[in-house]
Symmetry: C2
Subunit: 435 residues, 2 copies
């Protein structure tokens, strides 16, 4: 090899960009996608709402019983043991008639409170008065003195007519689907799913299944990043096209990028973004659009690329003119995993118009020592233990994906910071980051 070859592969050392700045630059590029679709409320879990949901009714629609028992007039039950005549019976879905003095209504959970009644007595707090004639009007003795309003659910206590119960930009989850259904909505307007093209680059990569372990050539490794990236994208509500491993040749890479850009909102790759990496991704994206190579002050995950690929104006179907976003993640599995969670996740949520793109961090005690500080802000793979503290996975190398399987979250450790047992540290749960 020659000096000239080496020189071209070794640019001057760049300054490290703080993660927060990288995130804010990235989010500034993530304009919400055009395109709203109507989906069945049944199928809207995980989608981002594209409308404010205003209720056309009260929930519950009228005052109703929250117990099985008897609707009574408190004025009739000034002391325990007062007998009342049971003159009606109201099940859920039925309507009672006005309750007169000395009367009680047998009532069931969810049934409307009859006019005149101002409390419900649980049936466990009543005794039926034995009667010789089973066809007589039954009587019930109330064993407790009821408080006005007891065991009554008020009309509109959950939702009042005209209230905005769910806002545009909210990410729907099971309870929100139930809430939308409770006000009669069988369909919801949601943002369309981002279309993401996923591929990996690197001649050393072999797809699992293509070559058995015992026949792997020297230097070859199995592609693992695409497996978790695809699952993570699905969890975020994306449609994923898996374009496989693109061989390290310029013309193949350019063709793959051009085709992907025409049909996708985002092209996501892993590998090929390190400083001097042997790869055609960077020049190919540059030739088709633009590319920013960042060296982010984080560990794992320093190299990261954001750019765009111009779409073919003829091939485009019209709904998506302009550019496709390009994000290049580092090739090391843990770097790829962590940069996805901290940068791509908020980006993809913002493409869908989600208002909340960040997860809430927790402050927990470290149950370990980290005597050696790193120059970069470090995201350590940790796990909550039974004592409520955080344990550290022993090997924090960016190649050790086991750490992300063992861990249940990331400890966000500021640059240059050592950790002593018992220190309060900042923790991000995978349960939040993966949903």
């Amino acid at each position: 090899m020659t000096s000239a070859q080496i020189a071209s592969a070794a640019p001057p050392r760049p300054g490290l960009m703080p993660l927060d700045e990288a995130l804010s630059q990235l989010l500034a590029c993530a304009q919400p996608l055009n395109g709203v679709e109507t989906v069945a409320t049944f199928d809207a879990d995980g989608r981002v709402l594209a409308q404010d949901i205003v209720s056309a009714l009260q929930v519950p629609p009228q005052d109703n019983s929250s117990m099985d028992g008897y609707a009574v007039r408190c004025a009739d039950v000034r002391s325990p043991g007062a007998p009342l005549r049971v003159t009606q019976r109201i099940a859920a879905g039925q309507a009672g008639v006005a309750l007169q003095t000395g009367e009680a209504a047998r009532i069931f959970t969810g049934a409307p409170i009859p006019p005149g009644a101002d409390a419900v007595v649980m049936q466990e707090d009543t005794v039926l008065v034995p009667q010789a004639d089973a066809s007589a009007v039954p009587e019930v003795q109330v064993q407790t003195v009821p408080q006005p309003g007891q065991w009554i659910r008020r009309s509109g206590e959950d939702v009042t007519r005209g209230a905005c119960v769910l806002q545009s930009g909210e990410r729907l989850h099971p309870a929100s689907l139930g809430l939308a259904a409770s006000i009669g909505l069988a369909h919801l307007q949601v943002q369309r799913k981002p279309r993401v093209a996923l591929f990996s680059t690197g001649d050393e990569l072999v797809m699992p299944g293509d070559v058995p372990p015992e026949a792997m050539p020297e230097g070859a490794i199995y592609n693992s990043n695409r497996f978790f990236l695809r699952a993570l994208l699905h969890r975020l509500g994306c449609e994923v096209s898996d374009l496989g491993i693109v061989p390290d040749r310029r013309e193949t890479t350019i063709a793959a990028l051009k085709s992907a850009a025409d049909h996708h909102d985002l092209i996501l790759t892993s590998g090929g973004v390190s400083v001097g990496e042997e790869d055609h991704i960077k020049p190919s994206v540059q030739s088709l659009g633009g590319l920013n190579l960042w060296q982010i002050g984080m560990k794992p995950g320093k190299p990261f690329a954001y750019g765009w690929v111009q779409r073919d104006p003829v091939a485009t179907d019209g709904s998506a003119p302009g550019r496709a976003h390009f994000i290049g993640l580092p090739g090391n599995p843990v770097s790829s995993f962590v940069t996805f969670l901290l940068l791509v996740r908020p980006f993809v949520l913002q493409l869908q118009g989600a208002r909340q793109t960040q997860v809430q961090r927790q402050t927990l005690p470290a149950h370990f020592d980290l005597p050696k500080a790193d120059r970069r802000r470090e995201f350590l793979r940790v796990r909550r233990n039974a004592q409520g503290g955080l344990d550290l996975f022993p090997n924090q190398s960016s190649g050790v994906l086991t750490s992300a399987v063992w861990g249940d979250g990331l400890l966000d450790n500021p640059a240059g910071t050592t950790i002593h047992y018992g220190d309060q540290v900042s923790y991000l749960a995978f349960a939040d980051l993966l949903s």
Copy 2:
């Protein structure tokens, strides 16, 4: 109505069963289902592994560079500035040759360390020696004194050959798919999905879309429970058959239960399990199998039913003889939601053979007062605030589904316990319970 009618609807008041006892009785009935299936690793997110995964190879397969830079012999660089001749160039997927004294190898991330080299120097810590003849063997000056082993990832540091990297009974998530792929597995053996039949009972229920809000008859309410139950079951990896609202008639209910039992592992209903509720679910299940009606000491969610429905031995396809499980949830939306998370979720995970059926609780400070203790163990809908404390949703009624949309978790408050601002309380995150 007659005394006889009332008496039959009002059984004696039962004692309350502790939640932990209900859970342990329920789990004792949840034998893992027969049936393992092979799925593509790509499609295994959320599934429960049915095999131990033992690695047939080392990951990484050989010592390799974790940086772009130069592989060197430390003995050659005793002081900064030592010049080395760059005699080879090793990219990922290639193999180098032995490094001789005074030599360096240009090396890229992931490329194998050549024999003889014992450290990698980042290219940022090197300077190329200017040379008049660009075709000469280039030289590089190393600006730092390398430590043996630096920037070298050791063979097997992630996975050693023969190690069990994932165990039967683990629930797979994105990182575990990546780990399985990294040892060459394109397919995995997982437990089959539980087949769940879901229906609601109650003549007051109307499906959203069937009747517009302005035309709802008095006493009618929209069915909301099935919407979140279906989404929750999907998140737990179940196949869900939605059987709709079963009218409150005995023969319809029996027919629906019999048909559901033949083709499902679990029949899940909401509504119809209260003490005196007007419903045909309880006698129907009893006539087709057996039923335990529990009054659980929890709020929301006191009434809960576990039972079974005998399958038709002729109609059964052979793979699933015997019984289908039956679980009846309370009809109040929040009761239904909370009992699902605390009882049905572990049940369904155990049907899949999952080893971990409980979520980890956290201890957080309450940022509110709860001056009135409840006789039952209470699961309050709360939300973490920016100060790391818990806020309480103001209306904790079991009919107010808004509380579960607003909240991000449950505060598990022991029976008879008041809460003062600042008290440390036990918190269960929805992010954990919903995944």
